[in-house]
């Protein structure tokens, strides 16, 4: 069992990669972020991006899915991180470069900071820098995520 106290700082983990197809870019954006530069390849040519690009929220949703998949994989490998998976929010989300159809984004997460909580002494907040990099090595996504993590129960 890994508790808040056990998590090392400055540890980088690769979360996995994901290829954004044109079909999925359009499907996600049609539902959640219906801008012509996310949903219409022809209209997108007239936009400042010069072509279809994935919604930034799509990049974040895939990050979340990879994070959950990784936790499951770690659990199955016997590394039980007891993260509650509940977050108070995030900061400094930057969409740094466009993600175009068939781009493959590789995600990394680096632990950066631990915050004590006076209001909930049984938890701490773990902060991480999350980044997405495309197949050419260009950083496309960066944000500081936060998650509540249980502290070690007294006596353990």
């Amino acid at each position: 069992m890994m508790y808040f106290e056990d998590i090392p700082l400055d540890e980088t983990r690769e979360m996995g990669s994901y290829t954004f197809t044109e079909e999925e870019i359009i499907k996600f954006a049609s539902e959640w972020d219906p801008q012509p530069f996310h949903t219409d390849p022809v209209a997108a040519e007239e936009s400042i991006f010069g072509g279809l690009v994935a919604s930034g929220w799509h990049l974040c949703a895939i990050w979340m899915h990879l994070m959950v998949t990784n936790r499951k994989r770690e659990r199955e490998a016997g590394v039980e991180r007891v993260a509650a998976g509940v977050s108070p929010g995030f900061r400094d989300l930057k969409w740094l470069a466009p993600v175009r159809p068939d781009d493959t984004i590789t995600y990394h997460s680096t632990t950066t900071e631990k915050v004590d909580l006076r209001s909930r002494p049984e938890f701490g907040i773990l902060r991480s820098l999350n980044e997405g990099i495309n197949q050419d090595g260009v950083r496309v996504l960066s944000f500081t995520g936060q998650v509540f993590m249980p502290r070690k129960p007294k006596g353990e």
Partner: protein
């Protein structure tokens, strides 16, 4: 259509949002955030959220959809460079009806791209009881009227 010149710091807007159904909570969580507190009612009861709740990313997406589909004063939106901060303050429960209010907190012409301005807005998303469930401080790139044709 409102251009950068039409937008003033301090202006506000109320946006009516949708009811978030249980099917939608499950559907989003299955695809993007398959954790028990979003998908399994028994596990959710035992979690620190005390019951089934929508993924925070779902609430972000619901706000974005609300802005683009329900805003009565759409801007000449060119894209977004990012979000300064999102706070998930309370769980969003299946059946909650969400509304949003926005306030423009900063506005300036882009130095690198003079055909557009950058506008920062503070959004508050409330449920049907008036409780704030999420805040978002985000930047939008908005076309300038006099440069719109270039």
């Amino acid at each position: 259509m409102r251009y950068f010149e039409d937008i003033t710091v301090g202006e506000t807007e109320e946006i009516i949002g949708p009811v978030i159904s249980k099917e939608e909570v499950f559907d989003f969580a299955r695809q993007y955030d398959p954790q028990p507190h979003h998908l399994d009612e028994d596990a959710a009861e035992k979690s620190i959220l005390g019951g089934l709740s929508a993924s925070g990313w779902h609430t972000c997406c619901a706000l974005i959809r609300m802005i683009f589909k329900n805003s009565t004063e759409p801007s000449a939106f060119l894209g977004s460079p990012g979000v300064e901060e999102v706070r998930w303050k309370r769980p969003v429960r299946p059946g909650d009806q969400l509304n949003a209010s926005s306030r423009v907190t900063e506005a300036r012409v882009s130095n690198s791209k003079p055909f557009m301005g950058l506008v920062k807005r503070h959004y508050e998303v409330r449920n049907q009881s008036g409780d704030v469930v999420m805040t978002m401080d985000t930047w939008a790139m908005i076309a300038r009227r006099d440069r719109a044709s270039s």
